[in-house]
Amino acid sequence: MKKLFEKHNNWFFKTGFVITVFMVTLVVIGQIWTPYDPAAMDAAAKAQGPSLAHFMGTDNFGRDLFSRVLEGAGATLIIAFFVVLLGAGLGTLIGALTGYFGGVVDEVLMRICDALTAFPSVLLALIILAILGPGRLNVIGVLGLVFIPSFARIVRTEFARIKKLNYVSLAKLQGVPTGRILLRHILPNIMPVLLPAISIGFNNAVLAEASMSFLGVGVSASEVSLGRMLSDSQNYILRGLPWYAIFVGLTIVLLILGFSLLGEGMRQEE
């Protein structure tokens, strides 16, 4: 940890770190304990502004907003985590293989990636989700898929660059197995590029999930997520409940701001 800070000694990284740790801690706590049951409706406490009892106020069903924001942020983060896992995992695999070996496979896979990139990713995700229907797993699958090309491209470039370096050629001559060269010799050396990409990817995933749910094709109506809440809240902005949208929007802003700054900070140092 200390090493990380020494390596990235800039304000982007520090601020991003503080915000992210704060938000993630809140969300983790939210998974274990929330002040109220996030789903419990209460007709007596409908549509209230912030108060001592309800720190962020309540929504149109009298549900505690703070509890729901915690729960929703959790759901959004979990989705984002798996989206990045899927996108970065498969992207790295494809990028590594195509970058290292080149050839026909490289051509074919990269043209597919081109095709995917050429099509607006949000629109693509929207179309697939509209066909598959809403739901957490579908969102993860679709967004993960959409995220693959960007990771594949970054990783491929790095692998193609590093494979020409002398130490890799030497390792090859020494008869080091190809798998080992890929994993132990090259992969660690692309981390300075991959880590910021993952951080930015995370930030994009949070945003993408929020957008999908906001447009009604993300998580289903009875699931909680930040995008879903934002979409529900818009009916009440002008109906005496602006807090709803403000708090949910603020949570999204803080989440992605944290990740963006982290990613930016990691990139700064080079």
Binding site: F12, M41, A47, F61, A221, S222, L238, R239, G249, E264
Partner: protein, 511 residues
């Protein structure tokens, strides 16, 4: 590098804007609203917001959805026409006589009535209309009633109908057989009727325009022109309303009218719908009456009303809403009082002690149904049922749920196409094509069949009431409420009237 940081911050802040620019943009340009509204007043025209597009065909016998019927009510007319109190008043007929045995109806046709295309209405048109309707109506209950007409002929300017067996509700059906010119073939796209407004144009998914018919036989409409604007997203509709580009919006709920500017008056009425948690009896757990009773006990309608509508709305108990005074049975309202313990024990008895999965599919464009679904899901979870809400688009709902029966449960509202008990109960007959729930009630079928065959009015009413009670006894669905509805109307407009049917009569609205 610093620039990038700033750009990043700005992007993040722009997210806040996401909430503001969600729905469609108001097509007429929000900022010019006041002049727009004034201009409309000067031109004596209004814009009306509606929540869904009309059916693909606008033909008089093809009005598949309630939303289409309420608009076309202004264009088409039958021999008789319902009035706001639920009585039938002569329209295209000036009067009618019924033979002593109740079998022969003879209608005197109003003379000199002109269609919107200029043609003059004749007795032959009436006969043709009844025949076409009997053959091709999308409403199977009307088709069935008209099949009872064994002879239809013109006799010295009168149209005489002879029934197979007497039917005391016949006039109600007569009023929903719209009269259209026999020689005209473009009803699907350019409907022509005799009503106070004539159809001008339709832009799919955008708008429908009607204009006053100056040749109208009765009291002419007050407005020159009505534009129905379609907003499948309720937020977009409310935004348009607030921006002043709409003058009238119906079927709103309490939250939507709350905080509406002073430019609008808010009128409270009743939607004349049977809102229920409709259950698919083909879905394994719901086949068991004990499970359905458990659902009825698990649902707390009062709490739901408080959460979704500040307590407004009429509780029902069966598929009859209060405007049907004759058939509404107050005692059924609390047939299944809220009792989660009883629900749990019934579930256990039926072998679902650990609950079961229940997806409640709701049409996403109807906020009241979505909200009701959300509350019900929570109430059902409390007795151990894994309930979830799934929003689908209106068209998907129509094809998958309504026609395809691909659902477990759904929250929606059914209206009555005519002011007869059969319009609300007919859909539950085992053989009905509209039997979305796949309910098979032998007792119910028997009551309904007998009711339709009975001529004595009080006996008939009793039978319909017994049939309605069957729906409650068999816990066919979780009957909830007739929703309180609110109409937002520009304060300069007057003459808006509520009907006991799902119609929107704009002929009496004036500036």
């Amino acid at each position: 590098m610093k620039k990038r940081g700033i750009a990043l911050l700005l992007t993040a802040l722009m997210l806040l804007g996401l909430t503001a620019c969600g729905g469609q943009k108001d097509p007429t340009g929000g900022t010019k609203a006041p002049t727009g509204a004034d201009a409309r007043k000067a031109a004596n025209e209004i814009n009306v917001g509606i929540a869904q597009d009309l059916s693909s065909s606008l033909g008089p016998y093809q009005l598949a959805t309630a939303g289409t019927r309420e608009v076309m009510f202004n264009v088409f007319e039958g021999l008789y026409k319902v009035d706001p109190s639920g009585d039938f008043k002569p329209a295209l007929a000036t009067d009618h006589t019924v033979s002593a045995d109740g079998l022969v109806y003879s209608f005197t046709i109003r003379e000199g009535v002109k269609y919107h295309n200029g043609a003059v209405m004749t007795a032959q048109d009436v006969i043709h209309s009844f025949k076409t309707c009997a053959e091709s109506s999308v409403d199977s209950s009307i088709k069935k009633i008209l099949a009872n007409v064994k002879d239809l002929k013109e006799e010295s300017g009168k149209v005489v109908m002879t029934l197979e067996k007497p039917d005391s509700d016949f006039l109600a059906y007569v009023s929903s057989v719209y009269i259209s010119p026999a020689a005209y073939t473009e009803q699907d796209t350019k409907p022509v009727g005799t009503g106070p407004f004539k159809f001008v144009s339709r832009t799919v998914q955008d708008s429908v325009v009607l204009e006053r018919s100056d040749a109208y036989w009765g009291e002419k409409a007050g407005l020159n022109r009505i534009t129905f604007k379609i907003f499948e997203n309720i937020t977009a509709m409310m935004t348009a309303l607030e921006a002043g580009s709409l003058d009238l919006a119906c079927h709103l709920d309490t939250t939507q009218v709350k905080g509406l500017s002073k430019e609008y008056n808010v009128l409270e009425g009743s939607m004349n719908l049977v809102q229920a948690l409709y259950l698919n009896h083909e879905y394994a757990p719901l086949k068991d009456i004990r499970v359905r009773q458990a659902l009825n006990y698990a649902v707390d309608v009062d709490a739901m009303l408080k959460l979704t509508a500040e307590g407004h709305g009429h509780k029902l108990g069966t598929s009859i809403y209060p405007a049907f005074k004759k058939y509404f049975d107050e005692s059924l309202v609390d047939a299944y009082p809220y009792n989660p313990e009883k629900a749990k024990s019934l579930l256990a008895e039926a072998g679902y002690a650990n609950g079961f999965k229940l997806t409640i599919t709701v049409p996403s464009n109807y906020t009241p149904h979505v909200n009701t679904g959300m509350v019900l899901a929570e109430q059902l979870k409390a007795v151990g049922i894994e309930a979830g809400v799934q929003e689908v688009e209106w068209n998907t709902w129509l094809t998958d749920v309504y026609q395809g029966h691909k659902f477990e449960a759904t929250v929606c509202g059914f209206d009555a196409s005519t002011l007869t008990a059969n319009a609300l109960l007919g859909r539950y007959e085992s053989t009905s094509s509209k039997n979305m729930c796949s309910y098979k009630g032998t007792q119910f079928d028997a009551f309904l069949k007998e009711a339709l065959a009975t001529t004595d009015d009080s006996r008939r009413t009793e039978l319909f009431k017994s049939a309605a009670k069957c729906l409650s006894d068999d816990a066919v669905n979780v009957y909830l409420q007739d929703l309180a509805e609110y109409v937002a109307i520009r304060s300069t407009l007057k003459g808006f009237t509520f009907y006991p049917l799902y119609v929107l009569d704009l002929s009496k609205v004036t500036y």
